[in-house]
């Protein structure tokens, strides 16, 4: 008669108990072993990230017909970090004057600074600058450059002052806007890559 299935055999109970004990033991060994291997991992810090797309700096150089140069500068070295951009305008604009404007974009987290405006020019079909100013500021702007499809780009532009006054002027770079568009920010859509507002005085 086969006894192995006998429910009453103390022998089988003992075997099971030993088996259980082994299970408990092995699992603890496994558990602690795992935690130790985990702990023995090397602890070298990961590399910092090269922030490739960041634009830290916008420089607008306005040159009058008479050769006077005015520089509008916005610099934000910590990108989305808590420090605000520092904004400066080198001199007031002169009334009834024509300027040509050139825009430079830099990523100064890299050394040497990366000229992002070259990337924008290379992808001209997917970018456009917009120039907006407060209603009381007597100036007008015109695009001087065009993308691959003959639509406005805005890395270079002309600016004419008409009357004296004070106000603000914003340079906005949109990525993947509707092109061609009606010239307004809301009509163009897309995403804002840059939006910098300068205080402007015309005298």
């Amino acid at each position: 008669m086969n006894n192995s299935n006998n429910l009453n055999t103390t022998n089988s109970k003992f075997l099971i108990f030993t088996a259980m004990k082994n299970y408990v033991l092995y699992s603890f060994i496994l558990l602690t072993g795992l935690l130790f291997t985990a702990c023995s991992d090397d602890d070298t810090p990961p590399a910092p990230v090269d922030e490739e797309e960041v634009i830290t700096t916008l420089i607008v150089t306005l040159t009058s017909n008479a050769g006077q140069t005015i520089i509008l500068n916005s610099q934000d070295l910590d990108g989305d970090g808590p420090n605000d951009p520092t904004i400066s305008v080198s001199a007031p604009l002169s009334v009834a004057t024509n300027y040509t404007g050139v825009i430079e974009l830099l990523n100064e987290t890299e050394n040497p600074a990366e000229p992002i405006h070259e990337e924008v020019a290379a992808e001209s079909n997917a970018h456009q600058f917009f120039f907006t100013q407060s209603a009381n500021l007597g100036l007008t702007t015109q695009y001087l450059d065009f993308d691959g499809n003959g639509n406005h780009l805005g890395l270079s532009f002309s600016l004419s002052t008409t009357s004296a006054g004070q106000g603000t002027m914003t340079f906005t770079l949109r990525h993947e806007p509707l092109k061609p568009n009606d010239g307004t920010l809301s009509g163009a859509g897309g995403e804002t890559d840059i939006s910098v507002t300068f205080p402007i005085t015309i005298e």
Partner: protein, 794 residues
């Protein structure tokens, strides 16, 4: 199949032997799983050709037996036949146990095999419900349960939200594995395929302490299919197609098992959808595709078993193109536009912004059962989650991911379910886990989540005891230790601005100018507990009371965030000083059930100390314009509400169902409403059966959420050179959706079943926006969807 044989056996006449044989052998047959009595089990004494059936209480007896040893053969319709050797002395009594297996593939779950404490209450989606929604995501499926809603980001990224709590406050258990898949993120959908689950259980409080002590919102438990121990090969094929998204899904499963206990299965699912549509426009770039493959091999005997399993899921998810914004001024335009700013023609292509997520689970588990120690389970699970998120980028980075996270989890656990006199059930266990998160630096974008390692160690014990036939008491205790070690580059300005340089100087490693390298390390030790009672007042009325205490540690996002969160178009700031959240919950459950009516009422109150919430705290100037800054903060909150379910069967054909759910959440001191609390919702449905065809018409009404914190802000808009209010808090209007379902069988043969279902969601093509959907600012929710599915089992 073998019934005629059993009946035959019964009628075989038995002959008593001519000697002094007056002993009685009696016994009781119980189910191995839950000790329930097995009636109608056939017991035969092989040597004597005598048989008898067990009665309602599982009892049987043979009289006039001679002393000696006999072979007893026991069979039962839902169990594996088994033989026992017995010694008959004078009047012997034996308790014999059989392993319950499942004759039907779509069996109803045994009551009593509850995952948590009985008193915690649970909602179960059975095999039928899971199968009918095979094409849906987990979030969409469980949002059909009263008190559960989908917290979503578009229509393919849906997270289960239990009474307004979601993400790291809800634990998802997938085939016994606690999912570790960057679940802290609001736009990170759970990486599970519901097709691999036999049933899904929802526990709406922290009581299932064998899994975790930090599920202060609750648990979603996907239970695997049970495979019968017999020689069989069966399978399932399910095909579905729908017009919204112009796509469909296909699922197959093949399962082989033997009477010796060996089994194996292979299952797979493929889903593919193009752009979905709202009633008035195409939702550009909202397509998705998904691939799942799962297989397992195992051995299941009465007393021991093991299983190896592997499953992998890959999801490619498009994110609404119009939701990708560059700051406050874009947000202003997008929110004030009645239609999404980018609407293109339908396409199956998934362009940026998109997510590519793969999740793999490898498990090995084994169990043994003994009369003495009960059941012992040992398991090891490995999970690997790869998450890639693509944004719209410039230049050579165009095809690079902006977020590239790799999270690996190793877990071991040991569970014991000993049998002790006086207790209905007893369970205890230990578990250890090691997680390693790596954030690829080659993205060229500052890490959203830093590299970290996490060590978890947990211990729990739970017990159930009957005080009388009607009153059961249960309790559970758990202790969790967690250590997190990370490396994080902070903006130097933020490090000092938040005072970390004074509080945590020991974390500083290297100053790199605008950034500082730090190594934050934290330890947490949390107890959690639950106690409750279930009381059957009489046959119809039952009352559940459950008190639980849970503790959740701050997740990596709450601790370490300090930058632009692109999909939310805002800067988010965490806090290293956060302490664990402590939740105290009281759940009550009252159910009434008779043959025609079932009714349940489940109120709850939850007080959470140091609840972590995120709120706007300012505006930040960047070269890209203004961004709203949201900071995490801890505050004491209270949540309360009730769920109500009513079912009435007027007759065999016609039935009525109603679900109603209400949740209120406030900050304790200021009484400010909490953000993203689900609005009041009521579902009314009529079910009618006509010649095997079931029809259901459903009305789903969601009230407007009138209680919300004001998170609006003002920002400079260059176009008008003026400051404008940006409304990011006002909830959308109430809405009413009608849904229609037909389903029925097609009978060809006994071994080949086909069933079909036709679903029409949002029948009247109603335009609406859902408060809990992050896309509501930019686009309407889905329009009408006609969905047809065919399932065949063989």
């Amino acid at each position: 199949m073998h019934k005629p044989f059993l009946v035959l056996l019964l009628f075989i006449s038995t002959f008593s032997q001519a000697q002094i044989c007056e002993s009685t052998f009696a016994g009781i047959i119980l189910d191995q799983h839950d000790d329930s009595a097995l009636s109608q089990a056939l017991i035969s004494i092989v040597e004597l050709n005598r048989s008898t059936y067990t009665d309602e209480e599982g009892r049987f007896s043979f009289d006039n037996l001679c002393l000696g040893t006999y072979t007893l053969y026991v069979t039962h319709a839902q169990c594996n036949a088994r033989s026992f050797d017995i010694k008959v002395k004078e009047n012997t009594f034996k308790t014999l146990k059989l392993e319950h297996h499942y004759e039907e593939l779509n069996e109803v779950l045994l009551s009593g095999s509850s995952e948590g404490l009985m008193s915690a209450g649970k909602d179960v989606l059975d095999a039928g419900a899971v199968e009918r929604s095979s094409h849906e995501s987990l979030g969409a499926l469980v949002s059909g349960i009263t008190g559960v809603s989908g917290f979503s980001f578009g229509n393919t990224v849906i997270k289960p939200s239990i009474h307004g709590l979601h993400s790291s406050r809800v634990t998802i258990m997938n085939n016994g594995v606690r999912m570790e898949d960057q679940e802290w993120g609001a736009e990170h959908a759970p990486n599970v395929d519901i097709n691999l689950a036999q049933s899904i259980e929802i526990i709406k409080n922290a009581s299932a302490l064998q899994y975790s002590g930090d599920a202060i919102g609750g648990f979603v438990i996907l239970k695997p299919q049970r495979i019968p121990v017999k020689d069989t090969l069966y399978g399932k094929v399910r095909l579905s197609a729908q017009d919204n998204g112009r796509g469909g899904s296909a699922h197959f499963g093949l399962i082989k098992s033997t009477t010796k206990g060996w089994y194996g299965s292979v299952e797979g699912t493929v889903k593919k959808y193009g752009d979905f549509k709202a009633p008035n426009y195409n939702l550009s770039n909202t397509g998705m595709n998904s691939y799942t493959l799962a297989s397992k091999l195992g051995f299941n005997e009465f007393k021991r078993g093991f299983e190896l399993s592997y499953n992998s899921i890959e999801n490619n998810i498009g994110i609404l193109r119009a939701s990708h914004l560059g700051g406050a001024q874009d947000q202003f335009v997008a929110i004030n536009s009645s239609e999404p700013l980018i609407i293109k023609d339908f396409t199956y292509n998934i362009d940026r912004p998109k997510q590519e997520v793969s999740h793999q689970i490898l498990s090995a588990k084994a169990f043994v059962k003994s009369e003495l120690l009960g059941r012992i389970d040992l398991r090891y699970d490995f999970q690997k989650n790869d998450r890639l998120e693509y944004d719209i980028r410039r230049g050579s980075d165009q095809n690079k991911a902006s977020l590239d996270l790799d999270l690996q989890t190793h877990a071991v656990s040991l569970d014991l379910a000993p049998k002790l006199v006086g207790f209905n059930s007893l369970k205890t266990g230990v578990s250890g886990r090691y997680l390693k998160n790596e954030s690829n630096p080659n993205t060229g974008v500052k890490r959203l989540i830093p590299d970290y390692k996490r060590y978890d160690l947990g211990f729990y014990a739970m017990a159930t005891k009957s005080l009388s036939n009607d009153l059961e008491l249960d309790a559970a205790l758990r202790l969790d230790y967690m250590r997190i070690e990370s490396f994080k580059y902070y903006y130097s300005a933020l490090w000092t601005q938040r005072g970390y340089d004074i509080t945590f100087p020991e974390f500083e490693i290297e100053d790199l100018g605008t950034q500082i390298l730090t190594a934050p390390k934290f330890n947490y030790l949390n107890p959690s507990a639950a106690i409750g009672t279930s009381w059957s007042l009489n046959e119809q009325n039952r009352l559940l009371i459950n008190l639980s205490l849970g503790a959740r540690n701050p997740n990596p996002s709450e601790l370490f965030s300090e930058g632009l969160h692109h999909s939310a178009s805002r800067i988010e700031i965490g806090d290293l000083r956060f302490e664990p959240e402590i939740a105290k919950n009281l759940s009550l459950g009252y159910t009434y059930k008779n043959t025609r009516i079932s009714f349940s009422l489940n109120p709850f109150v939850r007080l959470i100390d140091r609840f972590i919430l995120i709120e706007p705290t300012g505006i930040q100037q960047t070269i890209r314009g203004n961004f709203q800054v949201w900071s995490y903060r801890q505050t004491d909150v209270s949540l309360s509400g009730l769920d109500m379910d009513t079912r009435v069967a007027f007759n065999d054909k016609l039935g009525f169902e109603q679900q109603f759910s209400l949740v209120k959440g406030y900050e304790f001191e200021t009484k400010t409403p909490l953000i993203n609390m689900p609005p009041v919702n009521m579902i009314n449905a009529l079910n009618y059966t006509y010649k095997q065809i079931e029809m259901r018409i459903e009305s789903d009404y969601t009230w407007r959420q009138n209680e919300f914190p004001n998170t609006n802000f003002e920002a400079f808009i260059p176009e008008t050179q003026s400051t404008e209010l940006i409304d990011v808090s006002t909830p959308p209007e109430a809405y009413h959706l009608m849904n229609l379902t037909f389903r029925g069988p097609l009978n060809f043969s006994d071994s080949f079943n086909i069933s079909w279902a036709l679903d029409i969601q949002n029948m009247w093509d109603t335009s609406y926006r859902n408060y809990l959907n992050g896309m509501r600012f930019y686009a309407d929710d889905l329009g009408r969807n006609v969905h047809l599915s065919i399932t065949s089992t063989f």
